[in-house]
Subunit: 392 residues, 4 copies
């Protein structure tokens, strides 16, 4: 049951010096990023501006044993840059959405690579500006659409690219949760509060938090580009300022058609991200909650259960696999794969080493597409559900 070493092989060589903005006490996604960074031993977390509250920032940094704690990201960017070869090489930004753009800008300007949570900004224009900035600085600007790190998502993508599905016709993607079925934000729950606040989350609530994940996943696997869409963006809970349910029809370049549903008010759904892609030669289905299997149906033949870690898993899946089949990998492992691939790019930037051709972590390009999707969906819905073009 030996597994071939791929991108997720344990840390080869010197670790990446990493910092973090956000992710202090009471946060959820910060700990996820830290475990993801640690899992394959490619990073060491040295510095942080972990909270907008000074005391909390310091206490959190101490609890995590960080070498350097900062009161805010601007100070951190400036001082770390000043440390030169001892300063951090990359920063993970895990704040609420509205802080993503200014923080990313500060680090990019300081010459520090950025790993940013999604959605990458609160407006499309911001995302486009960050893209320009990263390009002009020649820096990595990764966006953690983590579901693209699952091995069987890689398998699905390779199936499509190899033509196993033939010409694509239909893409059905959905992402259903239920945690905002009631007005949780009124209770003071921190995650709910900022995600339903336009000032911190941006123009999209549910669509930004999980809709963009679904959209990115569909594009990542299918390779299809959305030309236009028509959306119904709803806020079902009384008094909620942002959407909690979104239904979208998609027209892809080349004639394929799609539907996307994202909801945070669908009781019984926990984190129900599910993708189905159909072509004239076959169809596939993948569900995030049971991520180690993929259903593959070559037309006219029985559906096969393709399992991660078996001989049937394609090379793109095998290279990001850590465990034999039947030993389930989960959310953290997929997230860690994104971090492991980013590490390759960061090492390449550091020492000119090569990046494996299958390294496909999501970047600011995915970030821009996500913001264009949000912008178009909100626009369509505000126009009564008209079809609108999606910016490139």
């Amino acid at each position: 049951m030996t597994i071939e070493a791929g991108s997720t092989a344990e840390g080869a060589g010197r670790r990446i010096r990493l910092g973090m903005v956000g992710g202090g006490e009471g946060a959820f996604i910060g700990a996820v990023h830290r475990i993801a960074a640690r899992l394959d031993d490619h990073y060491e977390l040295l510095a942080g501006a972990l909270s907008s509250t000074l005391e909390k920032a310091l206490r959190s940094a101490q609890a995590l044993g960080l070498a350097r704690a900062y009161p805010d990201y601007r100070t951190m960017a400036r001082e770390e840059a000043a440390l030169g070869a001892d300063g951090i090489e990359a920063v993970a930004i895990v704040t609420p959405n509205d802080q993503h753009a200014p923080a990313a800008e500060a680090f990019l300007e300081a010459g520090i690579h950025v790993i940013c949570d999604k959605p990458v900004t609160t407006t499309l224009a911001q995302a486009q500006r960050l893209r320009e900035l990263a390009r002009s600085k020649g820096l990595v600007l990764a966006v953690t659409y983590n579901y693209s790190g699952y091995p069987m998502v890689r398998h699905a993508r390779q199936l499509v690219r190899e033509g196993a599905l033939g010409t694509l016709r239909v893409v059905q993607v959905e992402y259903a949760q239920d945690w905002l079925t009631e007005a949780l934000e009124s209770s003071g729950q921190k995650q709910a509060a900022w995600r339903t606040d336009p000032a911190r989350a941006g123009a999209g609530g549910c669509i930004g938090d999980i809709g963009t994940h679904a959209y990115q996943l569909a594009a990542f696997v299918s390779g299809l580009q959305t030309e236009s869409l028509c959306a119904e963006v709803s806020a079902f809970v009384a008094g909620r300022a942002l959407d909690d349910n979104v239904q979208v029809m998609l027209r892809f370049a080349g004639g394929a058609r799609g539907m996307l549903w994202a909801s945070q008010v669908a009781p019984g759904n926990e984190n129900g991200l599910r993708l189905r892609v159909y072509g004239d030669k076959g169809g596939l289905e993948w569900r995030q909650e049971h991520p180690n299997q993929l259903h593959w149906s070559p037309f006219g033949q029985p559906t096969q259960i393709i399992s991660r870690g078996t001989g049937a898993a394609k090379p793109d899946a095998a290279r990001v696999t850590r465990l034999p089949s039947g030993h389930p990998e989960g959310y953290l492992e997929g997230f860690a794969t994104v971090y492991a691939e980013i590490a390759q790019a960061l090492r390449a930037a550091r020492d000119g080493s090569a990046i494996a051709p299958d390294v496909v972590f999501p970047t600011i390009e995915d970030g821009v597409h996500g913001m264009a999707f949000i912008e178009a969906a909100v626009r369509s819905s505000s126009q009564g559900g008209q079809w609108v073009e999606v910016a490139g």
Copy 2:
């Protein structure tokens, strides 16, 4: 493990004298109707015009041991009516769609009840005319949207009506198949040929064949009325004259929102009818391919697997249940339940006996709604996917 007697109890009293139009050699759905009629022993099949080809009609009638065979439905309607108390009381019409309306009209005019397959006609106007005719004659005009006969569909409906889901917000329904992924109609396959021929199937291909099933099921369970819709009706297979994939967004009276997807070009899907309904208090999910279970998720509590035949199944489900839990009932049993309930209405018409209050077999009302749905979806799509109102 004794099961209470309900609508599906074995034939009580004199059987209904039944005739059939269509359903001769090589047909699929005719045999289904016959088994459904026979299963609970409420009918005896006496007469038929089983094929448009005379020789085949006679040979099929003989093979089935029918007492009276006819060359066509007009002759049959006339002669059976002339037999008075010996003639058939009801006729099952199981031809391709284009024969539904004229055949139904002939029998209704002759004073004979009609059980018609779906979609009930090829145009909305025809369906509305049939509705008027049945009303004016005081006759039963049932339409076999058979999926409404499944016990757990009845359970779902009762859950909604009792308010267990609270105010409904979201309905997601889909019906995916793959048998028309390639141009099967070119091979001479009979089922594929007429279903893809506008002259015989009407304006809807996939949308008429299975889309209306999905639409009826969603309405039957949720009780919601569609006000407007926006549709993308596609024919992916080259040369196909009717749609093989349809994607629809639905706006319901009261503010709930829905999506409907029907496809016959989705490899790996056999008969994938699946309904999910979400309200502010709970959500439910039912899948036709595993019809004996329903997932019920009261918000904030674990999802429960409600199983047909257990104490947790609601009375509306229990009354149409024949077997203890774990002994799977299937498609034929659900179909037979619709026939058993129609038998109650026919007996009531015959002798004034009472109809149980939970008898809810689908009728020409469902048939009209189905045609209105097809008409609106085709209209929306031909207008580039604009939102259009759905006729009442």
Copy 3:
């Protein structure tokens, strides 16, 4: 989606004249036999001794519209035989176990074929005597191990016989229910009362009621003969006179090894019959509660979901299939298939017509093996769980 006509094609030619012993009001399995007989239109039910209580026997017969009602099976056997060509050709015996042998004997002696529920008798010796009697009379003596009628069970059997699994090594079979978790028999529930009463059920409780089903299924599919076994037969509910849980290890001729678990005290299990067979080339799994699919795992390749009604279903499955894939068939259809196959044998006995080579309904041979299994298991357990030989 036309289905090829096989053994389950609708009644060809004159129906079998059928009688029934047992199955009156309040019974469960009698109605199942009647639906099974009716479903494919091969039988007409004419006569019955439906209850040991005269009044109930008559009332039940009238409710079902039987032509002739009898107070007891002896009278019925004698008088039906006297009717000659108008009398019944076969009788279905659906009483509690203790009546099986005397009733079967009476009809066989009268020259009438017998279809008997399982376990076929209450002792092995009785079963062996019935086998002799049926042989000497040249009559059909079918035993309704109905699970052998499921199409995907036939598929599994054909897979094994074709050698797809290679040399068999391991058979795991289980049949778990929960309806006797508490002392239901104390409540007067009729099914529970006789099944836990040694005088009516015989030496086996759970092992006779469901254990023999599991044993027969394993033998039917695997073709393996049990040489010896070691059993732990338990009655967990206080005061229960017969077993409610049985665990058995099996040694098969040829070296394969098996385990069998049957329980009626396993909360959460409804009718959990499940078979797994493993050889050196592949493995298969089938579950009765979702009977339309079979998991087939050729060693070293992905598991395939083989679905009833698809092109991947083997001929032995296709011949007993009524519906296209995705339209679930269930318990009654499997039961009806056994009846349809018996009908072929009865027609052959009537008129010398041929029996298709794939007609494999269970007979007194299966009945004798079932009784030998019960006898050996009870003997092993009473000897402290020693290994004992199983009578041939």
Copy 4:
């Protein structure tokens, strides 16, 4: 979606200084232990004797960036002990089974805590001696029965302990794989080679490698003690020196009965560890391959799908949960939980800090029980499958 901090909270305070024996290039389980140690940041890996081949040991240590590499475990134990407060506090032993006992003894004698893979030794006597040694030295001797670290296994255990299942009656546990279906050991595959070699694996092949996992899991959740067992231990692959399939019947103290099946020759099974426990009030089922859900069936009520991370998960599960529901945790997270709990015990040993009452990582007690199980099963089988007592 904030998760309460429990045993798996990120490393609080100074990390444990860890060493490793075994786990060099080409090993599987060594990398698993390292990720498990790293995931929650409680350990730093400083020293190793990673291979019995000197060159490989050094190369592996360098690749992992270890501070100190040793040619063998004896040297390592001696020299690390000599380093005092700079030396390792604990060592993870991840060699083939035959090295476990001598290596563990060396480190215990040197005053270093031991984390040992399972089965803990190759004989029961060795395990008992290690238990004595650890006791006399007052050192931690953990044995990584990692499946006890899964949150829903903890939930199951708490359900049983709270009495939700009532009096236990039946335990069914199985662990099926297929990777040894053919003679993989002949191909030179390293994992297969030593696991089928009695000199390195001990008296048990499949029973030692996975059977003891199943046995430990059943005991961990049910709390039942095995009094006697009867086993059928088989080697199906020609020429294989150790068992590849084992079937066991278990008699527990108090009257409950169990079955255990472990196989490495069951095609289609990857890592199929599955536990079912039934009492007079309810039943539960858990499957390792989908570890985030547990099926809980209170008798007479619908089965509930209890999901990790939801409000329905019990405190014992919540305390070892890192992610919200629907974000799957897997094998590595469960393994890491065992490491996190061991870290608490090691910190307590270091500084007298408290150990949370729910810290229940497996120890040499589990190791001794596992060896007693192997010993009894092999003994029973060699006596023709007689019932034998299991050493306490």
